[in-house]
Structures are given as structure tokens and as C-alpha cells.
């Protein structure tokens, strides 16, 4: 599992080139610690997990997770199957607690405030922290337009100019030109990739600060995947994105930071390495990270 050679050379992984390194400086300058991981500033649109532990029943699945997701950045969560990426991401918008045996300790901060503190309204958190699921899940009983507006209806938000909101969200999700003439058709008439972008548009309509994406492209063809990656890059100018992916190229293409999760046999999952994407793909510090991203396991 770990790298055999005692003397580790500088690795370069030619198959993976990092696209986003340049964009890091362009958004608000983030402070990095000496590991290269971002430092919390407790500002708007910033998410942070502090000493987070997560259980299912008596089973500790994630231990001592400390991660900062700076505002308007994209962070990729990578790691082998079963290491707790989905579980972690679901604690960030309080979907975790929908599972009866689920429990957690530690803190999750949004805009510097703990989202699990007792006086917080969970529906407000889920409005601020949107989520896109692995499998596209548009509401089948609703049209394309109604799907985009469904968040307003479900959360009983006042809808201003509905038509321009629909257009804005679909445009930001990269779907507008494809569906603008068929807005009243049922959502299931779309292809899988289009459905997924519809789900992104639906999440955008409630104006989230943070968007969680759990393997959003795993059920999609390469063309749709690229479209969604474009959408992610575009959105990251205005919202914070956290994306789980098994696709190393995708992580390299879309993210500013990458966190590598690993659950070694019989142990709870931990964050092995969290730093800028360019660093993790060119000079990973931990040999386990290196073997994972070069495809030696996982």
C-alpha cells in the first residue's frame, strides 16, 4: 500500500496537468500555512470543519478532520472508495442527520458560525449550502422550469421575477441554450448530463454560498462532464465549491485545493494531505497520496 522505495524522488505525473494553478492568485489572496493548506479567515462563503469526527452507530468512520474551504475556491475531495468522502460532505449541509444512526462531534463553520449550534435553523443551512448528488435527481412530476424554481417553492421563498431567475440559473449551469425552447417539458425528457446541469441550476436558484457536489459526473459521458467542469469553473467566481471525485484529471482540472482522504484497513478515515492542487499533483508530501494519485491503489 505504501511506497516501497525509501528514497523518494520528486515525482512528476505527466498524465495530469493542473489547469487551475494560475487562477488561485486571481481570486482573493488566500493565506496558506506551511503545509500549503488554506488558513481560516472566518469570512463570508467560507466553510470549515474543525476536529470533526463522524460515526454511524458505534462505528467511527471519520476521525479528526480539519479542513478549510476558502471563499470562492474549488476544493476536490479524493480518496479510495469507502473512506468517508460522501459522509463528510453530507455533514456540511446537515444531510448526515437524516440517517437514523448518524452522529458527529466537532464543529462545522459557515461564515465563521457553527451550523450545528442549537439555535440554527437547518433549512436555512441547506439553503446556504446547496448540494448536487451523484445521480441526477430532477423532480419527475415537474417541468424543467418548475424544477429550477422548486427550491423557492420548497423553502417558501418569495419569488421575484421568475422568468429571469430561470434564465439566469440555467445560463449559469450551462444549460440555457439547450432548453430555452422547451422549458415546460417534463424534466425527465432531458439526457442524463442535461438533468445533472438542471440539478445544478435548481441548486443555484436559491442563491447558495457553498455548493457541494458528490461525484456529479460519475454517471455522465465525457462531453457532459466537460460541460459541468466548465460550469464549475465559472461558478467558482461567486460561490465556494466542494467536489468529491474519483477522476484525478477532473480534480486537477477544476480545483484550487485538494484533500486526500484515506481509511486504512480497520481504521477510521482521516485526511492524509490537504494542500493546493498543483502541489498535491506535482509534489505530494505523503507517499500514500502519491501512490493513490498515480493509480497504484484505490
Amino acid at each position: 500500500m505504501s511506497n516501497n522505495s525509501p528514497e523518494r524522488e520528486e515525482v512528476s505525473i505527466p498524465a495530469i496537468s493542473v489547469d487551475r494553478s494560475a487562477s488561485l492568485g486571481s481570486s482573493a489572496q488566500e493565506a496558506l500555512n506551511d503545509q500549503g493548506a488554506p488558513v481560516a479567515q472566518h469570512g463570508a462563503r467560507e466553510m470549515e470543519a474543525q476536529n470533526l469526527h463522524i460515526w454511524f452507530g458505534n462505528n467511527l468512520v471519520l476521525e479528526k478532520v480539519d479542513l478549510v474551504f476558502p471563499a470562492n475556491t474549488v476544493t476536490a475531495l479524493i480518496g479510495p472508495s469507502g473512506c468517508g468522502k460522501s459522509t463528510f460532505i453530507r455533514t456540511l449541509n446537515r444531510m448526515h442527520e437524516l440517517i437514523p444512526t448518524a452522529a458527529l462531534a466537532g464543529k462545522v463553520l459557515l461564515d465563521g458560525r457553527d451550523i450545528y449550534s442549537p439555535d440554527v435553523d437547518v433549512t436555512q443551512i441547506r439553503l446556504k449550502v446547496g448540494m448536487v448528488f451523484q445521480k441526477p435527481n430532477p423532480f419527475p412530476a415537474m417541468s424543467i422550469r418548475d424544477n429550477v424554481l422548486s427550491g423557492l417553492r420548497l423553502a417558501k421563498l418569495p419569488a421575484g421575477d421568475k422568468e429571469s431567475l430561470v434564465e439566469e440559473c440555467l445560463t449559469r449551469a450551462g444549460l440555457w441554450t439547450e432548453v430555452k425552447d422547451r422549458l415546460s417539458e417534463p424534466a425527465l425528457a432531458l439526457s442524463g448530463g442535461q438533468q445533472q446541469r438542471l440539478c445544478i441550476a435548481r441548486a443555484l436558484a436559491v442563491k447558495p454560498e457553498v455548493l457541494l457536489m458528490d461525484e456529479p459526473c460519475s454517471a455522465l459521458d465525457p462531453g457532459s462532464t466537460l460541460k459541468i467542469e466548465d460550469t464549475i469553473s465559472y461558478l467558482s467566481d461567486s460561490i465556494t465549491i466542494i467536489i468529491v471525485t474519483h477522476n484525478m484529471q477532473q480534480a486537477a482540472r477544476v480545483s484550487d485545493y485538494t484533500a486526500f482522504f484515506l481509511a486504512q484497513y480497520g481504521e477510521p478515515g482521516r485526511v492524509v494531505e490537504h494542500t493546493t492542487t498543483s502541489q498535491i499533483f506535482s509534489r505530494p508530501k505523503d507517499p500514500r497520496t502519491e501512490s493513490y494519485i498515480t493509480g497504484k491503489f484505490g
Binding site: N137, L154, S184
Partner: protein, 336 residues
């Protein structure tokens, strides 16, 4: 050889050879499916045959007239001096009225109970309630009918008085004789009690099949539980609830004993809407009431009543299935 361009004439017939086991299974299914149809047909034909004397005597009037008079047991056409005369209308209409009252009471209660079980009660409580409801649904409804008869009816009289006192400006709660017993309202109440378990059980089953990813999708958009139920669970379960309600309706229309005890039958007058009046009609109760002392000709009349009930029930089910198919089709097409 250069392959030429193929045309429709070249289309091959695609043959899938059936295995023996498939054939046997298919035969069993076809047999089962058609048998139920033929049993239904046989019942229909038997009813027509047995009721032929009255149908021939009164024709369509049997369904539209309002009278049930045995006379000397013979029809006028046989030269009777005190001829029997049968017209079923108040009974047929009353059957529908009582069933409607039962549905109006039972369906909302059932849907709310089913939603409560599926989404509001703590796990242990909902498991217990589910068990009880499913058990109750499997008990013959007459048991509930009798329970309702002895326990519920005394209270129902009081509720009816209340409805009448405060809501008698609504025509349906008005009465001409304030006795408040044996009214369509009371009969509907007893029937509602009988069908609530089965309708609840079916609704709960449907609601529990709402896809989890849709529920999670709604919650992830900041939905409250109530909003999630209204926008996701109810649209998904609508067809199934209508189906369950119609199953209940079928039971409600065919129920005999319970209604017989709690409804005052008026053969020659139709109670159109005054549901608190001690006056109503019910085909099944008519059959129970008259069967014991019926002459041969009246017996034919009772078979005719059975035929009408058969048609009413079948009609209600057809309406139901068309509602279901319309509401499910709506999901796919109507938004065009």
C-alpha cells in the same frame, strides 16, 4: 461480393424461441388472468338470468322508479289484483350517497394517518401503528361495523346534533324531523370506520415507496418536512391513494350488515342530500331486509338489485382506474 444497400424487404423476422418453462408459466398466467374475467362474466350473466322476470316486467323503470311493493307476490302482467311493483332508484342513489360520505370521512383520515406513520412518528411508534393498521386491514370489515354500531352510533347521534345546530344553514345538514338516528351520515360514519384501515395501509405502502433521492433532493434545497411531503410525496403517491380509496369504496358499497342496522330505508322517496335525516337507501341493506320473506317474483327483484349494485361497483372502479391513469399520464404529457 459487394454488399448492396438493404431495404425494408430485407428485414428479418426476429424470432425468440420460448423455453418450455416460459410457456408453462405463460399459460398459468393467462389462465389466471382470464379466469377472473370469466368468473366476473359468469356472475353478471347469472344475475341477469335470475332477475330476468323483473327486468322484463319493468324494463329500465326498475332502476329509475321509486317503489318497493310486494303486493300479492305477482306482477300485473300475470293478472294480479294487487300487483308487485319494484323500482330501485332511492336504494341505488342512497348507496352512492352513503359511500360518498364514507369516503369523505375516511380518505383524509387515512392519508393523514399514513403520512404520520411514514414521516412524523418516531420509529418505534410508527412500526407499532403500521402493524396495528395492517392487522386491522386484514380483519373482516364487518367486525368494525358491529363495533361501530354499538360503540360509535350513540356518539354519532350527538355529533349529528352538533352539526345540525351550528351548520344547518348548509342544506346538507338541515333536517325535517330532528331524530338524528339511522341517517346516511351515521351509516357513512360506520362505513368510514370499516374502510379506514385498508385505505391507510395502501396509502402508507405507496408513500413509503417515494424514491429516497427525491426526498433528499428536496431536503437539500431547504425544504421543511411539510413542504417536502406536499411537493414530493403527495404527487408521487396520488394515483396509489386514489386506487386505495376506490378499493375502500368497493367495500363500502357492497357492505350489508352494518349499514342494515344503522340506516332507515325509505323505498319510495329519495333522500337527495339531507345526510342527517333518518331516511336513506342502500341496495345491499334492501337485499338483507327483504330476502327472508321474499316471494319468487320479489326474489327476482332482489337479484336485479344485486345486478344494479354489481354495475355501480364496476362503474366506480372504472372511474377510479381512469382517474389513476389520467393523473399518472398528466405527469408525463400534460405539461407540454
Amino acid at each position: 461480393m459487394n454488399p448492396r444497400v438493404l431495404t425494408q424487404a430485407d428485414q428479418i423476422a426476429i424470432v425468440t424461441r420460448r423455453r418450455l418453462s416460459d410457456k408453462v408459466f405463460r399459460a398459468i398466467l393467462i389462465f389466471g388472468g382470464t379466469t377472473s374475467f370469466f368468473v366476473l362474466l359468469a356472475i353478471f350473466l347469472y344475475l341477469v338470468q335470475r332477475s330476468a322476470p323483473v327486468l322484463r316486467e319493468f324494463g329500465l323503470g326498475f332502476a329509475t322508479n321509486s317503489i318497493w311493493y310486494s303486493g300479492d307476490g305477482f306482477p300485473a302482467s300475470q293478472g294480479s289484483s294487487d300487483p308487485a311493483n319494484f323500482g330501485l332508484f332511492p336504494m341505488a342513489y342512497g348507496t352512492l350517497l352513503v359511500a360518498l360520505i364514507a369516503m369523505v370521512i375516511a380518505v383524509p383520515i387515512s392519508v393523514m394517518l399514513a403520512l404520520g406513520i411514514s414521516y412524523y412518528m418516531p420509529k418505534r411508534v410508527s412500526a407499532a401503528v403500521t402493524f396495528i393498521v395492517d392487522l386491522a386491514a386484514s380483519i373482516p370489515s364487518v367486525v368494525f361495523g358491529l363495533w361501530g354500531l354499538f360503540i360509535l352510533v350513540p356518539h354519532a347521534r350527538y355529533w349529528a346534533q352538533l352539526l345540525n345546530r351550528y351548520l344547518d344553514w348548509i342544506p346538507i345538514f338541515d333536517v325535517t324531523f330532528p331524530s338524528f338516528d339511522q341517517s346516511p351520515f351515521v351509516a357513512g360514519l360506520v362505513l368510514a370506520l370499516m374502510i379506514t384501515p385498508i385505505v391507510t395501509s395502501i396509502s402508507r405502502e405507496i408513500f413509503s415507496q417515494t424514491p429516497l433521492e427525491l426526498i433528499q433532493g428536496a431536503y437539500a434545497l431547504g425544504a421543511t418536512r411539510a413542504a417536502m411531503i406536499r411537493n414530493i410525496v403527495l404527487p408521487f403517491g396520488r394515483g396509489g391513494v386514489v386506487g386505495g380509496a376506490m378499493l375502500g369504496l368497493g367495500r363500502a358499497m357492497g357492505e350489508t350488515v352494518a349499514v342494515f342496522f344503522v340506516l332507515q330505508l325509505f323505498y319510495d322517496q329519495t333522500n337527495w342530500f339531507r345526510i342527517l335525516e333518518s331516511q336513506g337507501g342502500n341496495v345491499a341493506s334492501l337485499i338483507v331486509a327483504r330476502y327472508g320473506e321474499a316471494t319468487e317474483f320479489e326474489l327476482a327483484g332482489l337479484f336485479g338489485a344485486g345486478l344494479v349494485l354489481f354495475i355501480l361497483t364496476l362503474g366506480a372502479n372504472l372511474v377510479a382506474s381512469s382517474i389513476i391513469s389520467r393523473t399518472t399520464k398528466k405527469k408525463r404529457v400534460s405539461k407540454k
